[in-house]
């Protein structure tokens, strides 16, 4: 691994994002750290190895777009955007404070780099499809990436958009599913059967890749692969709360917040 290998930067950024976002949640005593941590490696890979973007030109027409459909994992998004240069790091200390630009759910009018407002589940996919259609109409080369939760795919609007993307062969659209198998109240499969998620997406006209959502090299390869003739789904198998022993695979850490001892332990483990 050479010094300018993107995997070195991605690994470092992911570690920083976990530590920083958990501090945000600790200080705000609010947030969704479990989902932040399952998505952190995906966002770090996107922002520091995949996306063609320029924080100095957030409206650059040819930029790649990333839509954070699981908007509740705003801690992961805000740390990624800050590390990428969209806002000063000290903004992160205002997370969910009165008057902050960093709402619990992202608002594109508050923070550049946020492509659309999300929060209610099932909104990112149709918007991402619309962005991809705009590119298809104009012949633009930009790529559109959208990250959803797995429980989120219980919202029907996702499947309206999945059908549209398959029908229109939106080859520059990539869906990434944060497949941590836990939703707010229980396991996804105990709530509504999601599997076989890969076959369901293939039936809608998508190419499907399954991988370890914490493996930066695998993520980088899948997300940088050239477009085919179909939209692409990357089912990223992840661990909710990844990186902190007492949080991993625990549904209660969906929106759990740490006390002082838990925060200290997490900082010891996240190294």
């Amino acid at each position: 691994m050479s010094a300018n290998d993107p995997l070195v930067a991605i690994k470092a950024k992911a570690l920083w994002m976990r530590r920083r976002s958990f501090r945000m949640v600790y200080e705000a005593q609010m947030g969704h750290p479990g989902g932040d941590f399952s998505a952190t490696d995906i966002l770090a890979t996107l922002y520091f190895g995949v996306l063609r973007h320029d924080p100095a030109r957030p409206d650059w027409a040819e930029r790649d777009r990333f839509i954070m459909s699981k908007g509740h994992a705003s801690g992961a998004l805000y740390t990624a955007l800050s590390a990428a240069g969209y806002c000063p790091e000290d903004w992160l200390s205002t997370y969910m404070a009165n008057g902050s630009k960093l709402n619990g759910h992202p608002n594109r009018n508050y923070l550049q780099g946020v492509e659309t407002n999300t929060g209610p589940l099932g909104h990112g996919m149709p918007v991402a499809a619309g962005i991809a259609i705009a590119g298809q109409i104009t012949g633009a080369e930009y790529r559109t990436f959208v990250l959803t939760g797995d429980g989120e795919l219980q919202e029907g609007s996702n499947w309206e958009a999945a059908a549209l993307a398959g029908h229109r062969k939106l080859s520059h659209l990539t869906l990434i599913v944060d497949r941590n198998r836990l939703q707010q109240g229980a396991g996804t499969e105990d709530t509504i059967t999601m599997d076989p998620l890969d076959d369901r997406l293939r039936a809608f006209g998508w190419d499907v890749v399954m991988l370890d959502g914490h493996d930066h090299a695998a993520l980088l390869a899948a997300l940088c692969a050239p477009p085919s003739t179909k939209p692409r789904a990357v089912i990223a198998n992840t661990v909710k709360g990844k990186g902190v022993s007492y949080m991993e695979n625990q549904a209660k850490w969906h929106h759990g917040v740490p006390n002082a001892a838990q925060f200290a332990q997490a900082m010891q483990e996240l190294v």
Partner: protein, 318 residues
């Protein structure tokens, strides 16, 4: 005017909408149309023929349709999302709220066959709640053209305006309003009839009925000012204040009397200039019936509006 099709002095405003959109699309290749299998009901067949690749049919999927509109705006297009307003505003309300209004994307929502245009098809297909649903949405301009001229003007303005807009259209045949030297001004009420005894504030398909009511009242010695409130959001509060100064107000809309134009006027007058307000519109879900029958039943006629003016004037005296 160009782009209209007249039948016995009446016009279907969808002709003005669709022909204006074609003109705009010729001049600006960013303009696209998004539909939910609603090409025919939106009269977009001509647009589809001219600009096949700029007509995006998402199928029968309204939530997706509105989200796609937001995405097209993100991608630099100017989308006109056109569908029956009952489905556009009801089925996709959260997308209208979050993806269009709150996100403040440059999306034009075009509600077709609004009000009770689908009369006999019943309340599932009526759109009398849209004003109440959309009026609180910050950033969203709500336009209600009253005739073909105003429809063309509203569509043209929407294309040039950077921001979310809802245009409420109907397939109900309406006459061209006889107003000299018209200028379309968003956010400003349009004077249709002069008068100082009572003010009738109407919108959309009911403006010509309000003008008819003013004529009836005139013959009774009552001077009724008629205002065309073609922008519901933002409300022309100055015009409403001046209307309140007459001492009595009637509001008229092809919509629920709760939360729409009547609601907006009542909110403003209660806070700033208390005055009797009689609201003419629909009290709730409508029974089976023709458009004419349902209008008659709810007093949406020249006579019914004149009667409401008398009620308002009586309350003002007390």
């Amino acid at each position: 005017m160009a782009h209209t099709v007249e039948t016995a002095g009446l016009y279907d405003c969808r002709d003005a909408w669709s022909n204006t959109l074609i003109d705009l699309a010729v001049a600006d290749d960013r303009i696209v149309a998004v539909v939910n299998d609603s090409v025919g009901s939106s009269k977009l067949g001509g647009f589809q023929t001219r600009f096949a690749d700029r007509l995006i049919n998402v199928g029968i999927a309204e939530q997706c349709m509105v989200g796609v509109g937001a995405g097209l705006a993100n991608g630099g297009r100017i989308p006109f999302v056109s569908a029956a307003s009952c489905f556009l505003t009801g089925r996709a309300l959260e997308q209208v709220k979050a993806d269009v209004a709150y996100a403040n994307f440059n999306v034009k929502l075009v509600g077709q066959s609004s009000g009770i245009a689908y009369a006999e098809l019943g309340p599932t297909h009526h759109s009398i709640e849209d004003f109440a649903w959309l009026r609180p949405l910050t950033n969203l301009t709500v336009l209600i053209p009253s005739d073909p001229w105003e429809t063309a003007a509203a569509v043209t303005w929407a294309a040039s305006h950077e921001g979310p807009v809802y245009i409420r259209l109907s397939r109900m045949p309406v006459p061209m309003l006889d107003i000299p030297n018209r200028v379309f001004r968003v956010g400003r009420a349009e004077l249709v009839r002069q008068g100082g005894d009572v003010a009738i504030l109407a919108c959309g398909t009911t403006v010509h009925l309000a003008a008819g009511a003013a004529d009836l009242l005139q013959s009774q010695g009552i001077g009724a000012r008629v205002l065309n409130i073609s922008t519901l959001n933002p409300l022309d509060e100055e015009a409403v204040a001046q209307a309140a100064a007459t001492g009595a107000i009637v509001t008229v809309e092809e919509a629920s009397i709760r939360g729409g134009l009547g609601g907006a006027v009542a909110e403003f007058t209660a806070a700033h200039r208390p005055v009797p307000v009689e609201r003419v519109g629909f009290a709730g879900f409508q029974p089976t019936g023709s458009l004419a029958y349902l209008f008659e039943q709810s007093g949406l006629t020249a006579q019914g509006i004149a009667d409401a003016a008398h009620r308002a004037l009586q309350r003002a005296v007390k």
